[in-house]
Symmetry: C2
Subunit: 129 residues, 2 copies
């Protein structure tokens, strides 16, 4: 059932994003990877990694001195959870309400719309036995 109900903060999410990209990483690697985007100091990253570890979202293996961190919480799981929370809060849990709002504001590129269409068509095909 994967890791339950872990709430990631924005900063933590960035760190996770890193770990999801290149699995076992040392603190330094994460720091370097995030440096351009965030400019956070080593300490900051390490703190975040600790908190994530405490939350059970990442595991730290300190075999032979050095410690390597890997995500325990999968990106898919995290994304899904975040999505549900978001949809509930903003669109009463309804995806179509969300899409509707976006289209009404013309916040979707034709490209996005095309892709969505394809997606849904594919779905129908797959669902029909």
């Amino acid at each position: 059932m994967s890791v339950q109900q872990v709430k990631l903060t924005d900063a933590e999410w960035q760190v996770m994003e890193c770990l999801w990209a290149g699995d076992p990483m040392s603190g330094r690697e994460v720091t370097q990877a995030l440096e351009p985007k965030t400019g956070w100091s080593r300490s900051t990253i390490l703190t975040l990694l600790s908190r994530l570890e405490a939350k059970g979202a990442v595991a730290g293996n300190s075999e032979g001195g050095k410690k390597l961190f890997s995500p325990l919480l999968g990106r898919e799981d995290a994304a899904l959870q975040e999505t549900e929370t978001f949809l509930d809060k903003v669109y009463h849990g309804s995806l179509s309400l969300m899409v509707s709002a976006l289209t009404q504001r013309q916040a979707l590129s034709p490209e996005e719309i095309r892709q969505l269409h394809q997606l849904l068509d594919g779905l129908e095909g797959g669902n029909r036995p």
Copy 2:
């Protein structure tokens, strides 16, 4: 251009939800409306209303002693902003990526899918000159 970049917390969002529902409301009305769902005390609500006022998300008109609060930030605007932030953070800004993730996890009811379909079809019709 409506109110810029106001970030609403979860608690604040609930209060706004209230104000969006029945526009000018007194603090007491908001409190009563939220009581069943949240159980928050009058003080809590008033604090939240103040913070929202400070952020420029609601306006408080104290004509003739009593004070009435109305939203300055529209629900549509708030939702759109929240949506963009969310999409960027979790799905690199791509709605179809989100929908794809949802379908892969079978997190969409057939009903939702049907509605989405309709929505998109309607869109195409409207877009074709």
